[in-house]
Each structure stands twice: as structure tokens, then as C-alpha cells.
């Protein structure tokens, strides 16, 4: 599985939404499922899957699917 698909799987399972519903511009708070609590579940799942340790700035900047990729690139994850 490439990293894009891996990240989609994480979004899908953490937020409880279908894979098809994950678009580049999917935004934090734009759907009821992606609330503040689910956000931290998502962050934990990303850290587990990619072996990263996002800092607090990353956590608040992770405001869309696209942004998640951008942050992970900073940690050396290729997309």
C-alpha cells in the first residue's frame, strides 16, 4: 500500500467515514465526524502508522487531508 492509501485508511478508520468520502480538501470540522476528539484519535493513528511524533503545532495545523500530507512530508514521509 502506498502512503497516500495508508493515510486514507487512517482517516477512514479514525473518523469513521468511507474511503470514498476522503478528498484532498476534506477539512477539520467540516463534517460532524471530524470533531476535536476524533482529531486526537487521528493524530495518534498517524503517529502509530508512520512512526512520527507530531508536535502541538502540527496538531493544530493538521486542518485538512492535504495538510496532513504536507506535515508528514516534513517528517520524511513521501507521497
Amino acid at each position: 500500500m502506498n502512503n497516500e492509501d495508508k493515510l486514507k485508511e487512517i482517516f477512514s478508520s479514525s473518523l469513521g467515514i468511507k474511503l470514498d468520502d476522503i478528498k484532498e480538501n476534506l477539512k477539520y470540522h467540516s463534517i460532524p465526524q471530524w470533531d476535536s476528539i476524533a482529531h486526537m484519535t487521528l493524530v495518534a493513528a498517524i503517529d502509530d502508522a508512520f512512526g512520527t511524533m507530531l508536535d502541538t503545532d502540527d496538531v493544530i495545523n493538521l486542518s485538512s487531508f492535504d495538510k496532513a500530507k504536507e506535515i508528514l512530508k516534513k517528517y520524511g514521509v513521501d507521497f
Partner: protein
């Protein structure tokens, strides 16, 4: 020309770009004054209630020359009135204050920008005390407090706001509000003696992390709590009312947590649902500090003049964060005293102060009378 949305001004950009406690008061007052004048103009144009209040208070149009001139709204106004400076469709979140069912609750309307700025400000402030790295976190509450979506309280909002700073969360209470001793042992076996963060509401920390835990400690807890909590940082908030009834003040609170549980770093913070984000953190010296985002003035309760440092009075809080509602300048119901400016031993700039307690009921009524709230409502 009426601006429909508030844009991030150059002043606010500067405020966010600097470290939260690095601007000396002279420079900060100037930045805040400019930003506050923009906000005052914006709310006057976009919130008819705010405009009416200013008119009722006899405030003429135009700019203010100092922070003390801005109209103070009593915090209770958000219980009485539904006020916001944005369109209904721009509301992304509504915050409610805690309060018993018989009491009216404050209702605070947030748009995306205000909400994001609150989160950013809180992060900048708390990071200054604990660093940017997320560390294992104990929450002195139950998980059900935040997962019950039908009753999302101010307590829940406070906890969720703090989750950003932690990882591998452990909730000290089970859903029936009893201690999860086994869970605590597992957590501390794994992380104990490393830096961990503990967050909870002041009375919850006192009741459960101290009173209940100490009661069960000798009989049930097999691990040495003092060793394991040696590097813990406790952050708590929510007020002292319940503890003061038990004659527990901040100094007693900190001494007991240190002696009984080994927790040496304890930071209280003073904040309110009407100004989320720009919290006043307690420094290592035991004082609350203003940050880049906020200012504090102490008011005489008879003539509302600004008290000099060292004198007690009613606390007025100023925050540049509220854009979606006119909550920038609030008269609280708390008594406090400013101890100094820019020269705290902790090296942080800004004013540092302590909170002495709540205003007596009669005085609160005095506040409302002075502000002629009823008349204001008639205007609205």
C-alpha cells in the same frame, strides 16, 4: 462601509508572531490599543447590541486613546443576551458556560477564524510552560465527560482543548466516577518518572487525584506514587469556590500535592468561556500572567476608576481574540490584585496578578446597576 468579516490585521499578526511573553508592556499596550480600536469599530458596525450598549454608556464614536477607555461588558451579559458580530451561517461552534440548570448559561458564538485563533493562542501560551512535544497525559476526569455529545459542558470543552498537549491519554476516573487504580498503575509503570502532563479541573484534582487517591493509596496502590509522579506537570483550572469552602488555597493545594504525591510543577490558569484561548497561566512564582493576547485592569467597585498596582479591586480582562462576538473587554465577577509589570522573577513580560475571590452578591448587582443592563436591553 461595513466590513462583513474581520480580517487579520498587521497588529494581530505581530502579536501572534512573537513569543507569548516577550513583548514589554509599553510596546504591547500600543499594539493592543490599535487592534482593540479595529475590533471596536468592527463590533460597532456588525453587532447592533454592542452599538446600543456603547450608546447607552454614553460612548461617542471614534477611536480610544488608551485601553482603559474601552466599554466593559459585564460577563453576565452573555447570559442575558444572544450577541454576535457575524452572520448565522458563519457560526461554526457555540460555547456554553457551565452552570446549574436553573441558571442561565452564557452562549458564545464562534466563527472559523475566532475558533482557530483561540486554539493557536492557547497552544502558544501552554507551550511556553511545557514545550512543544506532546507527552503522556493523565486526565483527572472520566472519558464519558467528553464523549457525551448531548451534554457537552464547559468542562468537556476545557478537557478537549488540552488534549492537543498530550498523547496516550489515561482517564483517572471510570465512567461511574470511581478511581481506575489498575489503569493508573499500568500507565505509571509504562511512563512514570518521565515527564507526563496531568490535567483536570481544580476541584476534580483535589477530590480525586488527592483525597480519593490518598484514601485508597495505602491499601490498594502498590506503586510508589511519589517516585512515579516526580516529573509530572499538573495544569488545572476552573476556580476555587469549592476548595475555599474547605479552607484550601493555592499555596496549601501546591504544598499538599508536592508532599503527598511528589508533584512539584503545578500551574493553575485563570480564564473564562467568554475569552477562551487567552488564558492567564500561573508562573513558577505563583502569579497569573498576561500574555501578548491579553491585558488585565483592576477596577474600583465604587467609581470604576483603575486601581494602582497592589490594590484590590474587580478584575477587568481584555483579549484581542474575540472577533465573532464583542467579548474583548469584560468586567468579571472576581476580585484581584496586580503585583507588578514586566519584572516577575520568572522572566516573563507583562502584568502579573493574583485572584482573591468572587465579588459579593451585592456588588455584582452593583455592577449591573451601573451598567444599567435593563435599560440596555430595552435599547436592544
Amino acid at each position: 462601509m461595513s466590513r462583513e468579516k474581520y480580517n487579520m490585521s498587521q497588529y494581530l499578526k505581530t502579536i501572534f508572531d512573537k513569543k507569548p511573553y516577550e513583548i514589554a508592556t509599553n510596546e504591547k499596550d500600543d499594539l493592543l490599543l490599535r487592534e482593540m480600536n479595529e475590533l471596536h469599530e468592527f463590533h460597532s458596525k456588525n453587532c447592533k447590541e454592542y452599538k446600543s450598549i456603547c450608546r447607552a454608556l454614553g460612548i461617542s464614536e471614534g477611536e480610544f486613546n488608551s485601553l482603559k477607555e474601552f466599554p466593559m461588558l459585564p460577563v453576565s451579559i452573555f447570559k442575558e443576551l444572544d450577541i454576535k458580530s457575524i452572520k448565522d451561517e458563519d457560526v461554526v461552534r457555540i460555547l456554553y458556560s457551565s452552570g446549574t440548570t436553573s441558571m442561565k448559561k452564557s452562549k458564545i458564538y464562534l466563527d472559523a477564524m475566532t475558533s482557530a485563533n483561540q486554539t493557536k493562542a492557547l497552544t502558544t501560551i501552554v507551550n511556553d510552560f511545557i514545550g512543544k512535544n506532546r507527552i503522556p497525559m493523565i486526565i483527572v476526569d472520566s472519558r464519558s465527560t467528553i464523549t457525551n455529545k448531548n451534554n457537552f459542558s464547559a468542562r468537556a470543552a476545557g478537557i478537549v482543548g488540552m488534549l492537543t498537549f498530550g498523547k496516550d491519554y489515561f482517564y483517572l476516573l471510570k465512567d461511574d466516577d470511581t478511581l481506575d487504580i489498575t489503569g493508573l498503575e499500568v500507565f505509571l509503570d509504562k511512563y512514570g518518572s518521565q515527564p507526563i502532563i496531568i490535567f483536570g479541573f481544580t476541584f476534580m484534582v483535589w477530590k480525586y487525584l488527592y483525597q480519593e487517591l490518598i484514601k485508597t493509596k495505602n491499601s490498594q496502590v502498590k506503586i510508589n506514587l511519589k517516585d512515579k509522579l516526580n516529573n509530572a506537570v499538573l495544569i488545572h483550572s476552573g476556580g476555587w469556590k469549592k476548595l475555599l469552602n474547605e479552607k484550601v488555597d493555592n499555596i496549601t493545594f501546591k504544598n499538599i500535592l508536592k508532599e503527598e504525591l511528589g508533584i512539584k510543577k503545578v500551574h493553575n490558569f485563570y480564564g473564562m468561556v467568554e475569552q477562551v484561548g487567552s488564558v492567564f497561566m500561573e508562573c513558577e512564582e505563583g502569579y497569573f500572567h498576561t500574555s501578548n493576547f491579553s491585558e488585565v485592569l483592576i477596577r474600583n467597585h465604587l467609581d470604576w476608576s483603575v486601581e494602582e498596582n497592589g490594590k484590590e479591586g474587580i478584575i477587568e480582562v481584555i483579549s484581542v481574540l474575540p472577533q465573532s462576538y464583542p467579548g474583548n473587554v469584560l468586567l468579571t465577577e472576581d476580585i484581584g490584585v496586580i503585583h507588578g509589570v514586566d519584572d516577575c522573577k520568572c522572566k516573563r513580560m507583562g502584568k502579573y496578578f493574583t485572584v482573591k475571590g468572587r465579588v459579593e452578591k451585592a456588588e455584582v448587582r452593583g455592577c449591573s446597576d451601573t451598567y444599567e443592563l435593563k435599560e440596555v436591553q430595552n435599547y436592544v
